[in-house]
Symmetry: C2
Subunit: 156 residues, 2 copies
Amino acid sequence: MQTDQTLKLENQICFAIYACSRELTKLYRPLLQELGLTYTQYVTMLALWEQDQVTVSTLGAKLYLDSGTLTPLLKKLEAAGHITRTRDKNDERNVVIALTEQGRQLREQAVDIPEKLLCQLDASPEEGGFLLTQMQELMARVQQRTNSAANIKGDE
Amino acid sequence: MQTDQTLKLENQICFAIYACSRELTKLYRPLLQELGLTYTQYVTMLALWEQDQVTVSTLGAKLYLDSGTLTPLLKKLEAAGHITRTRDKNDERNVVIALTEQGRQLREQAVDIPEKLLCQLDASPEEGGFLLTQMQELMARVQQRTNSAANIKGDE
DNA sequence: TACTATTTAATTTAATGCAATTTAATTGAA
DNA sequence: TTCAATTAAATTGCATTAAATTAAATAGTA
């Protein structure tokens, strides 16, 4: 059923998420500037602080980013001295990303960023947790769709 | 309070929104390709279908985009024949964006896109409405912060 | 072994996004 | 009225993003 409301900008969940994502990133920017990181570099470091010694594609799967985005980004993190990029001796197609000591230490400077952000938003942990769950559920649904779309494409 | 969990990627609301936004955009892409629009061009057209004869800055305020993004995007929509860009005779600093007849007619091809998306996600209108409200509340909080940050900056 | 298919990164191309600067036009105050 | 301040777009530079192509390495098969 389509009404006049259907195409209203304010009724689009996707636009709300899209705009919110960009505005949230702006909120992080001044905090991340102190670490010399962009937002994408920050989430990449988050992933690596959980687990390093991973390939570009493993990292990409966690971050939903492909090598076209990650390769230049990882080269910058390497140039900044936070990580190393090494070809896997066993399979030289793989590039293994590892933290340097400097990259590991950067975590100490980042550890209070999430709290600062939540404070800025006056969000309680409960609200935050609830919204997080909702986003993850939506993400799961989107993933099902993009995966099945990819499979259809792959079957052709 | 910081725990080991604090910096976990899966606990970051911001990352959930950031990743979800990109994945949702991917879901729109094939539908929008039929109209020859990118996602950002699509939301710009949504805004213009609600109201045209607006300035670049008015449009930017609705979309949370600045002239650095909008100017080249609007030139492309103009080149595609969907809009016109005209200097305001009363105040030549302003560029007024208006739909062409072709741009107005494009709406008919777009009108079933939101429904297709919701179907793909198996989302009920209730779930959708609920999430939308939550995102808008978060957005309002973020806006408060970015505005006050801008004011602080402006006061210096 | 030789050849093909697959896999993984890297590269290329095009489109955002944002910050900072520049340009042009207008406004407002001395 | 003249000039400084403000405003609106455009421009510039840098950093993502995604899709498509390329290149290198490996795996699988005849």
